[in-house]
Symmetry: C2
Subunit: 426 residues, 2 copies
């Protein structure tokens, strides 16, 4: 546990922000779908209208980043362009077209004594988000929180401070113009790291905290937060090719899972191959031809097809999320050995098996404990849009509240509503 | 944040317990309902057969407690009798009769590309419980965890150490006899407070921690835990009597909510009465006649019916969970004022309105943010058995994962199972 030194003034200021968010969340909870959608469309329009201001603020952030030696990859994530602003605006319009999760009846019944009970979805209340210098997350998370009837408190990376300030200003103005509370979107960026620390420990004031970013950010939040956290994202994803796997299917699935978009969390990072799998040489050749760097154990090295190159895998490779055109490959003696390897190294995101053996498929499903377990399809399908959830808040790798792709309904909680005419317990 | 000093040996020992629990949880996850129910019935039978040993161990705990000056109320909660052991045994039989939450399909669909997806309930894995010197909780929590396919790690109050050791021994023997893993039930009582601290911070080893007990225990767990926690129990419950409330209904509901079982969390603790409510004198007289001590604000004091006595309420009374025949009573000028009072003081458990005004009923439902909101019925209905959930794990007052009465399904998480025949993303 890190001891957090926090200034008393910052504590009071962040708590004041949270209290304004609480008041705004009550108004958001009562806004019906039409009203909330009007707010989202107003934001979408304002983003395009005030695009020049956003791009100017963003140019200042990028210039500052470049001066301070920020990597090109990080600068790219920080940079907004007219196309990227247009995409943010379109995403808000899509959000407006989705059903409202609030008011959905989860279950209900009339009891023998005549009491009518139903459990309905209601907004969580105050959602906080801590994320890196990616201005798109500012608009994205705010949109999701508003659609589900919540207020949101944002803390973005300081490298994107100017952009975020411009975006939050636009969001608040548009909300107000639509008759919704501006304080439903607030930022604590001006309080820096100390503000983030207060936010993480504002138990009772913040209903849920969503960290969005890399492993370090998420670990830091998990270690320091006392408010409820939803953990998202880390994916050390495995595919197991068993001895019955058809070579062509194995090649297609592994290639797609590794090369279609290597930088995302549902891309495969380790391939496990049964010692008798006839698909092995075709799979290795196809990966190599696609430019994938193979990190292989000794047994795979010994069976490497002629002309292919690979580097020896070390222990650390089994735990690596490369998020690039790199793949660890190991040979296993059995399904049991594959499951043992996965249990040891998986982050619980997604694992797949390629097989034509029914009993192996069922055993893999039963014994692998991940958010998604896939038989004979690409791991790239673990995705809110692909799975038909509409917008995606993230991919939860935790077990409480939400597991796997999270849609809008995961930003709600429930309330039991009980109606009677004087019933008492006897 | 309290800094926890923990011995390295205790850390290793508790982690070893958790690792055995993890292995046992895998076997439990694969046990079908018939098998798990057989285990529960075996425990139920063993408790009766080995009752003498349990009662002898309990007598030692009680004698030690009495020597060290434990209060009679706490001794009562510590004490087991043949009747109480029989009740524990019956509760396990009831648990065996309930449906298995594991394998239940939450949702599912076939996507346009032919992928079949379904989201099913699976056990959480390793459930930990930290509770006070109440031996019944040992059997209760273990039964719930086992029925839902989990392994459980128990940490009971040290004042019940001998009883818990006897009970855990019986549970483990009975599981083994039924062909289920004995390590699905383990205790860390022998590692004392240090063991509890390690358990609270065994992130990745413990899937959920359930504190069962009073406010201090729950706060201590919330402040120190890094594993996911489900908070249960605190209930500062309100009833609001509006100006339209029929006097007879108001009397019946308030009397039932306060006197039917004052020591539980769904009993009413504060009564708010509209200044024009004609029901007021009848309600106060009935409460007084039932022996309820009234803690009233100045305006109620001024309208106290002749012959009734009451004590002036101080600020602290609005935040008190008396859990006894005490009730705080305040007069309010409007529904808005009642909602403001509730927002300020409620623990988010249960609030009720007594009214004949439809618009007041709907506004109360919409504006009060608690796990259960009740119109014209006793607050005592916020209860798993009353609400038809079968067994109850507790009443969650948090918003994530579970809110309100938690049944067996709240001890599960979900897994997406995706089946295809070679589908890839394009």
């Amino acid at each position: 546990m890190t001891e957090l030194a926090v200034d008393q003034d910052v504590t009071e200021a962040v708590h004041a922000v949270a209290d304004l968010a609480r008041a705004a969340s009550r108004r958001m909870a009562h806004a019906n779908r039409a009203w909330k959608d009007q707010g989202l469309l107003a934001i979408a329009a304002a983003l395009r209208e005030r695009q020049d201001a956003v791009l100017a603020a963003n140019a200042r952030d990028v210039a500052r980043g470049r001066e301070s030696g920020t990597t090109e990859a990080m600068l790219d994530r920080l940079t907004l362009t007219p196309d990227r602003v247009a995409a943010l605006s379109e995403a808000l319009k899509n959000l407006a077209s989705l059903p409202d999760p609030v008011g959905n009846v989860v279950r209900g019944q009339t009891l023998p004594n005549g009491l009518r009970m139903r459990q309905v979805n209601v907004p969580l209340g105050v959602v906080a988000a801590i994320y890196e210098a990616r201005p798109n997350v500012t608009v994205d998370i705010a949109g999701l929180a508003l659609k589900s009837g919540n207020a949101v408190i944002l803390r973005g990376g300081s490298a994107a401070a100017d952009t975020n300030e411009a975006l939050v200003g636009i969001l608040r103005d548009a909300l107000e113009a639509a008759g919704l509370p501006a304080n439903a979107v607030q930022s604590v960026d001006r309080y820096g790291r100390a503000g983030a620390n207060v936010l993480m420990r504002a138990r009772g004031r913040v209903d849920v905290l969503i960290p969005r970013g890399g492993r370090d950010l998420i670990q830091s939040v998990l270690n320091n937060a006392s408010v409820p956290v939803i953990e998202t994202g880390e994916g050390n994803v495995h595919i197991f090719i068993d001895e019955s796997a058809p070579a062509e299917m194995a090649v297609n699935i592994v290639l797609n899972a590794k090369t279609q978009r290597p930088s995302v969390c549902n891309t495969v990072e380790t391939l496990l191959v049964h010692r008798d799998a006839t698909a092995l040489p075709d799979v290795l050749s196809a990966l190599s031809a696609a430019g994938v760097r193979l990190h292989v154990d000794e047994r795979i090295m010994a069976e490497l097809p002629a002309g292919l190159s690979a580097v020896p895998a070390c222990e650390a490779d089994w735990g690596r999320e490369y998020m690039d055109l790199d793949l660890a490959v190991a040979m296993v003696d059995s399904l049991d050995a594959a499951v043992r390897h996965i249990r040891c190294w998986s982050t619980g995101h997604t694992e797949a098996i390629v097989t034509n053996d029914l009993s192996n498929a069922e055993r893999f499903i039963a014994e692998v404990d991940s958010a998604a377990v896939i038989v004979n399809a690409s791991t790239r399908f673990t995705d809110g849009a692909q799975m038909g959830l509409g917008a995606e808040v993230g991919i939860s790798t935790q077990k409480l509240h939400a597991r796997g792709p999270m849609g809008l309904s995961e930003l709600t909680t429930t309330k039991w509503i009980v109606r009677g005419e004087g019933q008492i317990r006897t």
